[in-house]
Symmetry: C2
Subunit: 153 residues, 2 copies
């Protein structure tokens, strides 16, 4: 009930590459009829293997070409400050990814903005306003070499 067989894996492989494949298409690819594929997909959704379906936009076309990586260290490492930081980050729409890390740096953030100026404003008026931030180190992406949301099977 909670583990995936080869057919489930094949379905997930297809859907994480292209969610617009119809049940019919997938059934054809797997030599099955529509019903079992339909039921498996519903099950994978219900059990939480599939979280959601999204449209992936083109960063450059929509005018947000600047990506920065920002490494943040906290001044004091107590629970309340950490929780506060985590909360604040959720509301900052410029932040696409944020990870609590092992090692010297506490958090690694991936930030997407229109321009370097906007990044400056983001750091100055939003990020550095969060309480208890110690060191804050920004580097910029020159080129996105690879970016996928696919997991391999």
């Amino acid at each position: 009930m909670d583990s995936l067989d080869e057919i489930d894996k094949s379905i997930l492989k297809i859907l994480q590459r292209d969610a617009k494949q119809t049940t019919k298409d997938i059934a054809a690819a797997l030599n099955l009829t529509i019903s079992p594929v339909y039921e498996r997909i519903r099950k994978l959704e219900a059990q939480g293997f599939i979280n959601k379906y999204v449209a992936i936009l083109d960063q450059k076309k929509i005018g947000r070409p600047v990506t920065a990586i920002c490494q943040v260290s906290m001044r004091y490492h107590n629970e309340a400050f950490i929780e506060n930081f985590v909360n604040e980050i959720q509301h900052l729409e410029e932040v696409q990814e944020c990870y609590h890390m092992a090692g010297q740096v506490d958090f690694l953030l991936k930030i997407n903005v229109k321009s370097l100026e906007e990044y400056h404003d983001f750091v100055r008026y939003k990020l550095s306003k969060i309480d208890n931030i110690g060191v804050l180190n920004s580097t910029f992406v020159l080129k996105e070499v690879k970016h996928t949301s696919e997991f391999f099977f």
Copy 2:
């Protein structure tokens, strides 16, 4: 022909949150009929604003709980080595993201695997086999605080 009005932006906002919203749903949300919404979506796809539609899977449920950040510096910075590295990375399915960075570190990679042992194997038998790698520094994600593919408007 290449710029977005407010309606386009609203459509993109909806679709990057939930690609399963039907044309009908979106039309209702925007107080429009189906046709204009339908035509705009097709146009946004054709013009490349929307790259693709994908299913987002649950990292933990599918048994791939370990995420590592690996920072790579090249030994020599000539074009051929860089291009080789970029090429090799495309084929490594454990690598979800790879950025060519400004600054001391040349590349930042996000890697997703089943276990620390698998990460070890990845570094030893795949990553460090690539020619001309100098420094290689790994840190691990303790907690994914935020991860979205949405761009804000």
